[in-house]
């Protein structure tokens, strides 16, 4: 590749029209053919060319761990939170039931009415219940009379139709 061809490539490069292959040619050419005619351009392209030759320190080896565990994508975590939440729910229910059991009074089923209320209170409740039942009975009798009249009406209607 002649220097005239290189000049054309350099102009193409600054215009942003070179391909990576052409740029590689430029870098390689300036790394080997620096004649001092255009020192800054030479320095620029040789800098890019020399950078591409840099290698990592071969004495430093990359050590990959032998038994690294790999968690697969979309695989659920080993720690099962659903299982844990079920255990927690059972524990909460058990604790709640125990608490309710402990809060209940032990003697409620054995206590009799006489032990809880006085004789006067029992009598008063009896009177109130009695008066309420008498009121219902009187209203019921009144309603029953009205139904009796209806029976007479339907009996008369039956005779006329016969």
């Amino acid at each position: 590749m002649g220097s005239k061809e290189i000049q054309i490539l350099v102009e193409k490069y600054w215009a942003g029209k070179t391909s990576p292959t052409e740029e590689a040619k430029l870098k390689a050419w300036y790394s080997e053919h620096a004649d001092g005619t255009d020192p800054e351009t030479e320095r620029y392209f040789s800098m890019l060319g020399n950078f591409a030759k840099i290698k990592s320190d071969p004495s430093i080896s990359i050590e990959l761990p032998e038994n690294t565990s790999v968690r697969r994508i979309n695989q659920p975590s080993r720690f099962n939170y659903t299982y844990l939440s079920r255990i927690a729910a059972v524990l909460i229910i058990a604790m709640g039931l125990t608490l309710i059991w402990k809060m209940q009074p032990n003697n409620i089923s054995t206590a009799t009415t006489e032990e809880v209320y006085t004789q006067e209170e029992i009598q008063q409740s009896y009177e109130e219940a009695k008066s309420a039942l008498l009121l219902i009975a009187s209203k019921l009798n009144k309603g029953k009379d009205a139904v009796g009249q209806l029976d007479k009406f339907s009996e008369t209607k039956k005779r006329i139709s016969e």
Partner: protein
């Protein structure tokens, strides 16, 4: 991905990924550290690699993130100057000094460019990736890459012309 597939498909990217880490960190030892971290990360995520369409582009992105993390970490931990001087005098070789000179030149070029142009410059000029590959690595569209690359070259050309014409 098995160890055999990993050795075949991923390990050969070592030099390319190292150079990319170096182009970001501009520090050989830091770039080696990044490379080590990246390969361990890739190894532990090797099952995800099977599902990646462009594995090289994916690796390049990991190197970029890891390099930037390392730079941030280093900024938080200032190194004592005496220790650095001791390290240079004890272990510096001719290759390392040549690398340092080259990295200094690259640093001067990169300093002149805005962030996006700098990133595209690294991938195109230093790594030799095509515009289509850069689009995939940086998640940019065709015109963004083309225009940024053109502008970056214009800035560098102006700088070179200044040095040639005015010695600045």
């Amino acid at each position: 991905m098995t160890r055999k597939q990993f050795n075949k498909n991923i390990l050969p990217l070592r030099e390319k990924l190292y150079r990319y880490a170096l182009s970001i960190t501009l520090d050989t030892s830091l770039a080696e550290d990044v490379l080590q971290d990246v390969f361990i990360k890739l190894w532990t995520k090797r099952d995800q690699l099977d599902q990646v369409e462009n594995q090289e582009a994916w690796c390049v992105r990991i190197v970029r993130n890891q390099s930037l993390d390392r730079i941030r970490q280093r900024k938080r931990q200032p190194v004592e100057l005496e220790k650095v001087q001791y390290a240079v005098s004890a272990f510096a070789t001719t290759d390392m000094l040549e690398h340092e000179d080259l990295l200094q030149q690259i640093r001067l070029v990169l300093e002149k460019l805005p962030e996006q142009q700098r990133e595209i410059f690294r991938l195109r000029e230093l790594m030799g990736y095509s515009n289509a590959e850069i689009e995939e690595i940086l998640h940019l569209n065709h015109s963004q890459v083309k225009v940024s690359l053109f502008r970056a070259r214009q800035i560098i050309r102006k700088q070179i012309d200044k040095i040639i014409n005015y010695g600045v």
